[in-house]
Subunit: 304 residues, 2 copies
């Protein structure tokens, strides 16, 4: 059974399509409407059965919905909030899947009519793929969904959203909004920025040919390129909208990197050995927590 | 058929065990002897059938071999060269699988007796796992093996080693030794250092709990922890022995990172968007070159 009778998905990419597929898998009987900016995406989503009805505007898509989930880049949210505001049903919940939460709350809040529940949320799940064909029903299984309620969020509306996401497969946790943005910066935003940077460095080295970079990229660099293949618009918006936390974590990163660089320059093997040993522990914990497998990653699929 | 009658593997970890398994897969009839520092590793290697005979010293293991492959951390090579030198057969080839080549050539060269062919080599393949049980026969398939011949290397001895690695599944390329160390720094050494650093930062953030880092690590950080779970001794030795190239690439990295950091601070979305778009191309090229699959990485094995 479904917490909501009618779910409207604004934006029909990886996350929206995975939400739809996970809803169907959970036998939710809710009607699903959707919208996307590009005609091609709308037609694909309809053809894949991700939505019961598709509309060319968000204003139409949200009409009558008791849950609206904004699945668009963070930078696009304010304009959409303004567009949908007059069309939102009394008592409906407006949520999102954006990677930053303070900026989303600030972008959406001012537009929300009385009687509408604004509850920002962030699924800690994804792949480097984009578009409606990239989704799959198990994306959220055993992944965490962070809800960052606002001071005046209704307790029962938050609880309803929690149950919804649990049915999609997620573990749900409530988190203070500012803390969310710091945590997300440490485990997702800054790693992405660093992967982009490393790939940019390799691309820009005159003394190393591009064919060398491409052919000899085994484990290590290959994973950086996968991360750095993520959607540029989405990530631009993340950094524009999580500036303070990202700059804080980058400051720490530079400090640590310079300490390791100094150890390399001075030949301080003990410093490096201790550092590299400590980081192994975190890996162990992530596997124990079921957030990754023990299997070695080989690229190109599993060995034998 | 085999280029060599007797291959001695010094060190019995991931690479040595994969060499042995790939040799068996190619129906090479060569005798394989091996040695490792730890008794447990030696016994495991013997039990797994990776070696025909195992010895507690490298001096014994190399006796009568026409190919000796040093599969130990770079920092251990000089001492082993000194130990095995008096026991090497006339005309045998001594090679290795170390990640840096200039330092290996300098560590081994002075100890090599006349009539022995020293030919450093580096397979661009691996996983984050260590030990004799981590190997698999297809590790080298379609991966590149870089040979860095010395100025006086015998052409026919190099050619023989090329054929051997081709039979193990590798594509083989000859490369100038100093250039190798720069290329390896760009596509492997520096990315590893950066992954270690990012995981170290996450570990050291007082305001973010370790459980948060562990539970919410989806794509992005999760891959960094995998890379940062690699063998600490091996990587300490890499950085101690490829100092100049690593410092050069780190200099470039810091420069690029500061440019992106500045764009974040100034809110320069166009700079970021262009940067993130450029890095997508490299990914495309790596997939086209068969060095990774198109499949999204999800951690925890493939979706559905």
């Amino acid at each position: 059974m479904s917490q909501y009778k009618h779910v409207a998905l604004v934006g029909l990419g990886l996350l929206a399509s995975s939400i739809s597929l996970a809803m169907r898998r959970a036998d939710m009987t809710a009607k699903i409407t959707g919208t996307a900016r590009s005609k091609e995406t709308r037609e694909t989503a309809l053809a894949l059965g991700l939505v019961d009805e598709v509309f060319s505007t968000a204003a139409e898509a949200v009409q009558g919905a008791d849950l609206v989930i904004l699945c668009v880049p963070v930078g696009a949210m304010a304009a959409i909030a303004e567009e949908i505001a007059p069309h939102l049903a009394e008592g409906c919940t407006v949520s999102d899947v954006g990677s930053v939460k303070q900026a989303v709350a600030e972008a959406l809040g001012p537009h929300m009519p009385d009687g509408v529940h604004l509850i920002p949320a962030h699924p800690m799940a994804g792949t480097e793929k984009s578009g409606p064909e990239a989704g799959f029903a198990s994306l959220f299984d055993n992944r965490w969904l962070l809800i960052t309620p606002l001071p005046d969020s209704s307790h029962s509306a938050v609880e309803r959203l929690e149950v919804f996401w649990t049915q999609l497969g997620s573990n749900v946790e409530l988190m203070e909004i500012e803390h969310h943005d710091l945590v997300a910066s440490v485990i997702s935003h800054t790693p992405h920025l660093i992967a982009y940077t490393m790939v940019g460095v390799a691309d820009g080295m005159n003394r190393v040919a591009k064919t060398e970079v491409v052919n000899y990229s085994a484990a290590g660099f290959r994973d950086f390129t996968r991360i750095a293949a993520s959607d540029p618009t989405m990530w631009r918006d993340v950094f524009l909208n999580n500036k303070d936390a990202t700059l804080e974590v980058l400051g720490r990163f530079t400090e640590e990197l310079l300490a390791l660089q100094r150890a390399i320059r001075l030949g301080d093997g003990d410093f490096m050995f201790d550092y590299f040993t400590r980081t192994r522990d975190i890996r162990r914990s992530i596997i124990d927590a079921g957030q990754d497998t023990e299997a070695a990653d080989f690229g190109r699929g599993k060995p034998e």
